[in-house]
Symmetry: C2
Amino acid sequence: MALVNEHFLKLPNNYLFSDIAKKVNSFKVTHPKSSIIRLGIGDVTEPLPKAVIEAMHKAVDEMAHKETFHGYGPEQGYDFLIETIIKNDYTPRGIHLEPSEVFINDGAKSDTGNIGDILRHDNSIGVTDPVYPVYIDSNVMCGRAGVLENGKWSNVVYIPCLKENNFIPQIPDKRIDIIYLCYPNNPTGTVISKGELKKWINYALENDTLIMYDAAYEAYIQDPEIPHSIYEIKGAKKVAIEFRSFSKTAGFTGVRCGYTVVPKELTAGTLSGERIPINRLWNRRQCTKFNGTSYITQRGAEATYSPEGKEQVKDIIHYYMTNARIMREGLQSTGLSVYGGENAPYLWVKTPDGISSWKFFEQMLYEANVVGTPGVGFGPSGEGYIRLTAFGDRANCEEAMKRLKTWLK
Amino acid sequence: MALVNEHFLKLPNNYLFSDIAKKVNSFKVTHPKSSIIRLGIGDVTEPLPKAVIEAMHKAVDEMAHKETFHGYGPEQGYDFLIETIIKNDYTPRGIHLEPSEVFINDGAKSDTGNIGDILRHDNSIGVTDPVYPVYIDSNVMCGRAGVLENGKWSNVVYIPCLKENNFIPQIPDKRIDIIYLCYPNNPTGTVISKGELKKWINYALENDTLIMYDAAYEAYIQDPEIPHSIYEIKGAKKVAIEFRSFSKTAGFTGVRCGYTVVPKELTAGTLSGERIPINRLWNRRQCTKFNGTSYITQRGAEATYSPEGKEQVKDIIHYYMTNARIMREGLQSTGLSVYGGENAPYLWVKTPDGISSWKFFEQMLYEANVVGTPGVGFGPSGEGYIRLTAFGDRANCEEAMKRLKTWLK
């Protein structure tokens, strides 16, 4: 008899964003005349940069002629894109990478999920809490997270990020095998300083811990002191994998492209104590279970680094970060405590009077017709918070703030 | 200490196509003036159909304007593509599918590899031999294949397909949990009749076996009696997942799109005997570890079903199948025994005088300057065969046959 992977059955059936959709739909049915503003899901709304559009048209045309047609590309991505990434995202920060250390993919979600393939099923896991659900769910699926007990997975260490600790995760006092860090952070919108990140590298070096560093939102960093890459910290290449994405940088959520950096000097162990280069395992995983990213997409991603592309990307980031400022100021003027939104497109709002995340979500939906994401959906330490995103339309952001001001007055 | 998944270390370091590339390169270095014709790798050479080019240009333009921009799409794919697939590929063959039974992906390789995520690590595996290496390697990676002993994996049942049995795999006399079938077959280019396929469905129904049916080459079937989909056989929805691809149909090897059919009535068991719908697990897997296929790509795939698109696809298939005929006739005229190539773009050639696959590969390379793929690279039963593909340029195919005729005269 074919048997299912029973770890899947441990996953709760409800899923944050479908639960939200259900609640929004039932509101719409009972209030057909209300106009809802959605500041919940982290999807972009601005069109692709012109440089990307031009590059993709050109690439489509190449595919129309035998002489310039592209069939299977390298599973790891084309050199033209890898070299452009290294030259623009790493070299200027003093980080030397070889082309074979960069793997192009169809978006960071795939790789942050699939990376677990190359690691033992019984490594222990650590996450900052609240957290992007994929880190946990993908580990649940292979049995690595253990069992769910009182809202927490038994083999996962939750490192709380709360206003009480300025959202700075404390270094654990015990050894953890694999730690997920996401900076700028989804969902809190907070960032990590070089000094704090250095503590994590040291912890990882001392404990032989593997850090999964998700830098999907690095383009939103405004403060020049905040690190964009974990490899800005000495020693990081020995302990960290970095995930990047064009989704939020250049509006690629529907185009699908990102990349993963796996340094050659990064190793993990075998039970017998041998050190194995992670790069070799990931390369083998990708060659077997992935067939490269669309040529057209890769040409589009490359164009984000042209002089025009860079300017256009900067404009998009500026647009969303202006939304973030408007929202931040608007929310603060209502007396709410707001975090994030200064170096990240997410705002993390403390609910007033200790109201629960879901209660505040429903009140905001029914009384102000604004949709957010209940913080508790991202983990136990998200209770009492709500996440708003700055990816919306400017007019909607302004209107939402007006509504919230009237509502909370 | 972070530990690696040690199953990866069981994989041999050599990889068929990189071994071939090395041998071809060393020939080129020592024979710089020779012109090599490559009939080895299964990559297409004809450009994308015009209808696809137009659809992708249109989709790129949509991405350039806020009103028509597409961000995150459904992880399962857009309804416009799913419904077009059902209407064109299944309804005319009397197969009823619901949209939620079809999952769009970035190519069949990803899904045939990733599907193992939802199944227990200790299911037994059966493959026809020779076989597409991804089926085995992806199972090795999660420990399901066992250990390698004398060129075979201990938990894999190899079902030989040889000229002695007309390449018809025999139904095993013992129970196997998961069977991979690929028809039209890669690498042998042979097909399966409805009668033979029915035997497999009956076996699966009797033994509670899950069939992974890879139909990536179904568009090449010329004989109207040969099934295109496993669901043409009654009962198949209870036991089979079907993988399809636009790669070889419409030249999408560099664009990346395929789809997987997971019927709602397909179930597998838990250790305690509960039946679990596979569709629900796969949906959860995709929602967690995949973020949908590029909108532009999906619009391109949709266009292969327009009246113009269908004609253009038919022309491409005809072009390659004419290559196949030329190659088949050419090879036969040299006295070689040739299989496949009538309903598939692959030709499976018996080496003369019992020469080994690699020996014949090298002779053909050095003496006729033609590159094939050694059959033994696809499994033990591939020894003594070589695979040639019909995806090349016409002039190259003709020239290759001329060389082989001169060489083997």
